[in-house]
């Protein structure tokens, strides 16, 4: 029994962090955030070269063939760097194809996903978080109709995995007829959300309808891991600032009022790391627990990170509020991860359901 990251896993995370420091510096993130025409192509290119595009694609299809734990570690690094990378589709599309796709569908798409030639997005908000404002997709005769909201990476994706109202999954090509994509401007400008509209849009169903649950679990773990990375940076920045900022002739970190805020953030965050690891591990190795642990990871990280995001900002004082410092990119990243694919209250209902405390 060993509950720790392996040498390889740590190296993967460290080298991705180094790649991101160069390809997705805060300055680069600012440019992306400020310019809707900036598609972040250079960042995507760097990620594809790293191998990130194929992180969970089996080696037989040209990917790295890694598990959800490695994907979560990558997501943590992306969150730490507030990187403008549509990672959700990178993880979910291959899982959808492996768990629910046909041989032909896998052979067609997985190599292109692995190389980064095609970027994928998953339009699964409605069956998971519930349909809002008339959204929802119906499928009949190989065509989709309706709207899907809150699709990360949906503006640029060359392949969309779309869920219909009954939970069935469909593959939609980026250039399909009757597909319209509109930006949904949100708080987090490091990852853009799309509203997708389908009017008699040709789509190919996946052969199994079982995959949606797996996509939900994987998505929740990926979001929890992104939040973990972003929260760790907010804590680190608060601690660094508290060691350097002087008032009343002392560094503010020597005041217990400030020091205890930092301790509280660390005390909340550090055990949550183990929960994220376990939830990711369970997805691949303990399927009976996967849904419960994914739900707990998503909801719990959402709760503690709200505390960390505001507390870190407070430790910084007024400068924490400014665009000059840029702490708000992490603050907003955490805020979006909290709501996306279900806020904590919604997700906890799923945790109760997953263990039979309420009827499925």
């Amino acid at each position: 029994m060993r509950f720790a990251l392996s040498q390889e896993q740590r190296m993967l995370q460290d080298s991705l962090a180094r790649t991101l420091a160069e390809a997705s510096s805060l300055e680069r993130v600012r440019r992306f955030a400020g310019d809707p025409k900036d598609k972040g192509a250079d960042i995507w290119q760097a990620m594809a070269e790293f191998g990130l595009a194929g992180i969970v694609v089996p080696e037989a299809f040209g990917g790295l063939g890694l598990g959800l734990l490695e994907a979560a570690l990558a997501s943590e690094a992306l969150g730490a760097a507030v990187a403008p990378v549509a990672f959700m589709g990178v993880v979910l599309a291959p899982i959808a194809l492996m768990r629910g796709g046909s041989e032909a569908q896998r052979a067609e798409w997985l190599p292109k996903l692995a190389s980064g030639e095609v970027m994928a997005a998953a339009a699964i908000s409605e069956p998971i978080a519930g349909p809002r404002d008339g959204a929802g997709v119906t499928a009949a005769d190989g065509k989709l109709n309706g709207k899907a909201l809150f699709v990360p990476g949906g503006l640029a994706a060359g392949l969309i995995v779309a869920a219909d109202r009954t939970g069935g999954l469909h593959l939609v090509r980026g250039d399909a007829a009757g597909l319209t994509r509109t930006l949904m401007p949100g708080i987090d400008e490091t990852r853009r959300l799309a509203e997708l509209s389908f009017i008699d849009t040709p789509a190919e169903p996946l052969v199994s309808n079982e995959a949606l649950g797996a996509l939900r679990d994987a998505a929740w773990v990926i979001l929890a891991a992104d939040t973990l990375g972003a929260s760790q940076v907010m804590l680190d920045k608060a601690v660094a600032y508290a060691k350097e900022r002087r008032q009343f002739g002392r560094v503010i970190g020597s005041f217990q009022a400030v020091k205890h805020l930092c301790a509280e953030m660390a005390a909340e965050l550090e055990p949550a790391r183990a929960l994220v690891w376990y939830a990711a591990y369970a997805f691949d190795h303990a399927p009976d627990e996967a849904s419960l642990m994914a739900a707990h990871a998503k909801a719990h990280l959402s709760e503690i990170s709200r505390f960390i995001a505001r507390t870190s900002t407070e430790v910084h004082g007024g400068i924490g509020m400014t665009d000059l410092l840029g702490l708000h990119y992490w603050f907003k990243r955490i805020g979006m991860n909290r709501q996306l694919l279900g806020g904590p209250e919604k997700v906890r209902e799923m945790a109760a359901r997953a263990q039979g405390l309420i009827p499925a």
Partner: protein, 392 residues
């Protein structure tokens, strides 16, 4: 990450299970029918005093953290009582093993393990709580003895104890941390008065202990004269591990889940109330976090690595979580939650209320939550200490 057990460990788990099944008649309701006989049986089979050398009365196994954990889990699963876990076994014995003289080990470890000698801890004083090193109980030299005078507080089991391990000031001229000695003496020695200290639970879980010229041989000092502060820190390390045990927290959460499934208000089960259910789920996520964090600490300990922040936060988070679990149980019971002491409507013998109150004491004791935050911030995050007022 590999959470599977090797064949050797799986076999060990089966062995523990078989033992507990074979002796299921020796315990009931989580308590042994004959405590001393049960303790002896556990030691003989390596399920208590496992790594303590045979010559001192232990089982003499090589330390194996995973096996220890398997034992803990199997005993929890079978609701079987663990071995004695008083302050003598949990705190004094590890300290003696680390810094005691050969004679002290021979004299005390075996009888303590067998439950023949019960210990209490004399650390805190009315004027020395969080600032423990400012303690004033004095030990004045008189030939080969010390004469000890002063008082201690929060001394649980003092009224039952045969012996005390105590911090006293032997060198009044030395610096605060350097004038303290760790000393052992009998609670039957003349000059000792024990006064029960009743807490908000209605029970006297603690005592005050007063010493007036208590004569103790100098040879009873453990770890060297003036070294008591360092010896005590060895012991506190063991106590903090004991106070944040995630297995105990998980067991308590499971009792709460059972309670919420079984209790009804009108026709509604408590678990069917979405507000209580949501609170339960919030706590369950925290329990799992502490459980997996515990696995992480276990792996680090096996590899001989420092666990850093992951270990430093356990006392603070674990004690708070236990308190919150009890709080939810009381809330979920509604008006039934107010009942205490006795009566036909009382649930769990008032245990949830008792835990809710007693656990507040655990948040304060063993290093208050605020002291824990200082430790996390200073040792874990590298933030500077509060400047000493003396230096201005």
């Amino acid at each position: 990450m590999d959470l599977t057990l090797t064949p050797e460990m799986a076999a060990f788990r089966d062995e523990v299970r078989a033992f507990l099944e074979a002796h299921a008649d020796d315990y009931a309701g989580g308590a042994p029918k004959d405590a001393k006989a049960w303790q002896k049986r556990l030691i003989d089979n390596g399920y208590a005093a496992r790594t303590i050398p045979r010559e001192y009365g232990g089982y003499g196994a090589e330390p194996d953290i995973l096996k220890s954990r398997i034992i803990a889990e199997e005993f929890m699963r079978a609701e079987a009582p663990r071995g004695l876990a008083g302050q003598g076994v949990s705190m004094l014995v590890p300290t003696l093993l680390e810094v005691g003289s050969e004679e002290q080990k021979w004299q005390w470890i075996g009888p303590t393990l067998r439950g023949e000698v019960v210990w209490c801890q004399g650390y805190s004083e009315p004027g020395a709580g969080s600032d423990l090193a400012s303690l004033q109980t004095k030990a004045v030299e008189d030939g080969d003895d010390f004469l000890i005078s002063g008082s201690k507080i929060w001394t649980s089991t003092a009224q039952l104890a045969d012996m005390i391990f105590c911090l006293v000031r032997t060198e009044p001229e030395a610096a605060k941390h350097e004038g303290i000695s760790y000393i052992l003496f009998s609670m039957k020695t003349p000059g000792i008065e024990v006064r029960p200290l009743t807490t908000m639970t209605g029970q006297a879980e603690f005592n005050e202990v007063f010493f007036t010229d208590v004569r103790v041989p100098k040879a009873n000092v453990v770890g060297g004269r003036g070294r008591g502060w360092f010896v005590a820190n060895t012991t506190l390390k063991h106590e903090r591990g004991m106070l944040g045990d995630p297995n105990a927290t998980e067991a308590r959460l499971n009792s709460l889940i059972e309670l919420m499934k079984a209790e009804t208000v009108g026709a509604e089960r408590i678990i069917d109330n979405p507000i209580f259910r949501d609170r339960l789920m919030q706590l369950q996520a925290r329990v799992f976090s502490m459980k997996f964090n515990g696995l992480r600490l276990l792996t680090a300990a096996q590899a001989g690595e420092n666990s850093g922040l992951a270990g430093l936060v356990v006392k603070l988070q674990g004690c708070e979580l236990n308190h919150q679990i009890a709080a939810l149980a009381i809330d979920a019971l509604g008006e039934l939650g107010i009942l205490y002491h006795d009566g036909p409507h009382l649930r769990a013998k008032g245990g949830w209320q008792r835990n809710y109150m007693f656990d507040l004491g655990l948040i304060i004791g063993g290093g208050t939550a605020q002291i824990q935050k200082n430790i996390i911030a200073e040792r874990g995050l590298g933030l500077p200490r509060e400047p000493s007022p003396a230096k201005g």
